[in-house]
């Protein structure tokens, strides 16, 4: 596997097939936690952390347990089980070893446990037949894409706070419209496809 195609996996995951804006996964936290720049950046960091670990574990589990036993059809349920437990373990580990990191990421970790983006990445990796390294990189790239999207939306929302938005559009509607426009803008990256 050449290093060139590994870079492509990261760029593809982050921009071309952006998990939020092109695949519409993880919309819940994307809209919910994008009120403040700082919170969304912390959530993004937590997502990068979790998705990278989760895709690594899911890849190993699939390659060495599920595929040899022919249990391909059980991958969704096993991944849910393992990812949820994994995040819990990581949370406890962080709480003990680095309280500072725990304080900044802590409240977001349980939130991510059930985030469909995490599961979505693990399943997409398997579908694409990626090997271990490719899975980790693809997970990392996807999570970076998520972070880019949520931080951008938070920036837009903090700007919008100062603007005189027509009353019926205030709150959720204008956020939806902004997200839709961002999604259209990200379609431009489709031209990068290799």
């Amino acid at each position: 596997m050449s290093s060139n195609s590994l870079i492509l996996i990261i760029v593809g995951g982050a921009l071309i097939n952006n998990v939020v804006l092109n695949q519409f996964l993880g919309i819940c936290s994307f809209l919910g936690v994008s009120k403040q720049m700082k919170a969304s950046a912390s959530l993004g960091a937590a997502v990068i952390f979790v998705i990278t670990i989760a895709s690594a574990v899911a890849s190993l589990l699939y390659d060495y347990v599920l595929a040899p036993l022919g249990l391909d059809f059980m991958k969704t349920i096993i991944f849910i089980l393992v990812i949820a437990a994994l995040v819990q373990i990581v949370e406890m580990f962080l709480k003990k070893t680095s309280p500072a990191v725990y304080r900044s990421l802590g409240i977001y970790l349980p939130l991510i446990t059930t985030n469909c983006a995490v599961l979505g990445v693990a399943l997409t990796n398997v579908q694409n037949g990626y090997n271990f390294i490719e899975c980790v990189l693809s997970g990392f790239g996807t999570a970076v894409g998520y972070t880019i999207a949520i931080v951008l939306l938070a920036g837009i929302r903090s700007r919008m706070n100062e603007k005189d938005i027509p009353a019926p559009l205030r709150g959720a509607p204008i956020v939806m419209i902004s997200a839709a426009l961002m999604s259209i803008a990200f379609m431009g990256f489709g031209g990068l496809s290799f």
Partner: protein
Amino acid sequence: MSVILTTTLVIAAVGIIVGAGLVYTSKKFYVEVDAREAAVREKLPGNNCGACGFAGCDALAAAIAKEDAPVTACPVGGAPVAAAIGEIMGVTAGNVERKVAFVACKGSCEVTRNQGNYVGITDCRAAALSGVNVTECDYGCLGFGSCNAVCPQDAIRVVNGVAVVNRNRCVGCGLCVKTCPRGLIQLVPESKHVAVQCSNHDRGPLVKKVCSAGCIGCSLCVKQCEFGAMEFANNLARVNPEACTQCGKCAEKCPAKVITGLRPLA
């Protein structure tokens, strides 16, 4: 049949391994939590307003449990909360009087006028920065309601061009005090009703020109007060709530009727 069996076994095995892993980590990485911290957090109001100076109620609870903060640190909860926390921490809380916000301006639409035509963000701070003379009085309430926007209790509202505090709803967190660009809002003890409802430091004639309800700086109230509770500086009278006995003589004497008397503020 064998597929069902393998599936069941694999899922069960994964479940058991994962469960064992969770049990092991929760024992291995167990973090001691001060039981008092959780109990203190229960008693705090949970507004997360930050008026205590800590980053929300959780942070204050942690500080109180570590005895880094006094049990009376929460200004919102006041005496009842302080007493409850004191019980948990094993110390008696002193008497803490509840404080409420007070707006030192009476400039409603009847007594003063708007001057400049400000078109922009409807926010007092933005208007104050714009340099437009929104109100004729350089010290008065701008009336865009930034105080209302930050109030977690909806206890302060702009009524007829001037901010008015609802004392029953106000929890004394002081967010409006920090927000008002003209510094019109202060926290006063709840039982004190006598206060000067003006912040204009100009001399009498100038005040009269812009507002019929302003303090003209005649200092009659200072002579009237038997307890030395009236302070006078820069053409403006101020009540010192510590010394004030709420007799209300100053309010009776005030020619501009700018001192609120014994009646509770609206």
